[in-house]
């Protein structure tokens, strides 16, 4: 298993996700939420967090089960996922075909001063996803693998899990709404036509 961390999240995440318009997106706190709020201009098809650490994958799972007609993308970081890594097992027993998980793994807790996370010290989240019975998993750590990641994330017949290894360059800065109620209402209005 290679341990290359040369990719920069600011280019790798948008390259893998592509056009986000047709996706429903749930993002874990800190870096992942900034990556995706920047890419979507904090749009109405994205729900970002700045707390509730460990909840992003489960929230995306609930949304995916609710809306099997839509592709749901969870974008989260290594630290956020590690906090509730058991959720991968819950995803794995259900395997919703419309759920994809992108874990942006920089091996650090960027929000709190770049302390090393467990993934920097030998823990492999792709293997945990595999062991959790998630059918399509891949580690991406080189630019030439990005088209493959795009395809897995978009077209997999069954839940997919992409572990994107990146360096410790910071996420893009964006002023996003921290008002979860306002974001919930906007999301539901856009998706369902109701608040």
């Amino acid at each position: 298993m290679s341990d290359d961390r040369s990719l920069d999240r600011k280019t790798a995440v948008p390259a893998i996700v592509g056009d986000p318009k047709d996706l429903l997106i749930v993002c874990g706190l800190a870096g992942a939420s900034k990556d995706m709020a920047h890419l979507t201009n904090d749009g109405d098809n994205i729900f970002t967090m700045a707390g509730a650490m460990g909840g992003a994958t489960a929230m995306g799972l609930g949304l995916a089960l609710s809306r099997p007609d839509k592709k749901v993308l969870v974008v989260t970081g290594d630290g956020e996922l590690l906090m509730n890594v058991g959720t991968l097992a819950t995803v794995g027993i259900l395997k919703p075909a419309n759920l994809s998980i992108l874990c942006v793994d920089n091996g650090h807790y960027g929000e709190t001063g770049y302390q090393e996370s467990h993934t920097q010290r030998g823990v492999n989240l792709e293997l945990i996803a595999q062991g959790s019975a998630i059918p399509n998993t891949r580690t991406i750590d080189r630019e030439e693998q990005i088209p493959e990641a795009q395809k897995i994330l978009r077209d997999s017949n069954g839940t997919s899990f992409i572990l994107l290894k990146v360096n410790t360059e910071p996420p893009p800065s964006i002023k996003r709404s921290m008002d979860a109620t306002e974001r919930k209402v906007a999301f539901r209005r856009a998706l369902l036509g109701i608040a």
Binding site: A52, M59, L65, K184, L192
Partner: protein, 216 residues
């Protein structure tokens, strides 16, 4: 030990203390019988088949609840089994209760009504995730089977049993208690109305007086 148990025939607290400290099987069986004679219900007597549990499932379904998240629990046995058997709902076993909190919020984003079924100990696993519910004013209903209160025989259940109500209220949730079979459906209906019509989060506690004490 047995004679001590008889001497303490009317001293319930003393009896339960003895009960919890004793690992002798004979004593356990006798004490369970005695407690029953004294009017205690044992969880095993219900076998999860009481009418109110069937009625509760029908009530949740008639309110269009379609996602059932749970951590396995004896008191919720009927609801869990009915949800697994029902082809029109999604029934999800969780690895920890806080997953259910976030799943219910995600389901609401998609327009699906949900319920989280858990035991009192599970409430402790959820506390930070309740921040998502509170900040987003998500409608949220959890039905909690209580341990650690009326007649509890396992001391490990007591701390979180005592903590449930203050904890959920501290996190901005309403806490409604059902003490009798007759109270269950109206209480859960009230919770569903408060959640899905007023964007409130509500914990319905199915109390140990209702559920019965699990013999140890």
């Amino acid at each position: 030990m047995l004679s001590l148990g008889y001497i303490a025939h009317n001293a319930l607290f003393y009896r339960i203390t003895l009960y919890c400290n004793c690992v002798n099987e004979k004593f356990t069986i006798l004490t369970a019988i005695e407690l029953r004679l004294m009017g205690f219900k044992m969880m095993s007597e219900y076998g999860g088949q009481e009418t109110w549990q069937e009625d509760l499932y029908s009530l949740l379904r008639s309110n269009d609840v379609e996602l059932f998240c749970y951590v396995p629990d004896g008191g919720h046995k009927t609801l869990i089994n009915r949800s697994i058997e029902d082809p029109e709902v999604i029934s999800v076993p969780l690895t920890t209760e806080e997953e259910g909190v976030a799943m219910c919020a995600g389901a609401h984003l998609g327009g699906t009504k949900s319920v989280l079924l858990m035991q009192s100990s599970g409430v402790g696993n959820c506390v930070n995730m309740f921040a998502l519910i509170k900040n987003g004013q998500f409608p949220f209903v959890t039905v909690v089977t209580m341990r650690g209160e009326f007649g509890e025989m396992n001391p490990w259940q007591v701390p979180m049993g005592q903590g449930v109500q203050p904890v959920v209220e501290a996190m901005g949730m309403h806490c409604l208690r059902a003490e009798t079979p007759e109270e269950v459906s109206p209480t859960v209906q009230a919770a569903l109305d408060m959640a899905y019509k007023s964007n409130q989060s509500v914990a319905v506690l199915l109390t140990q007086k209702l559920i019965g004490a699990k013999p140890f």
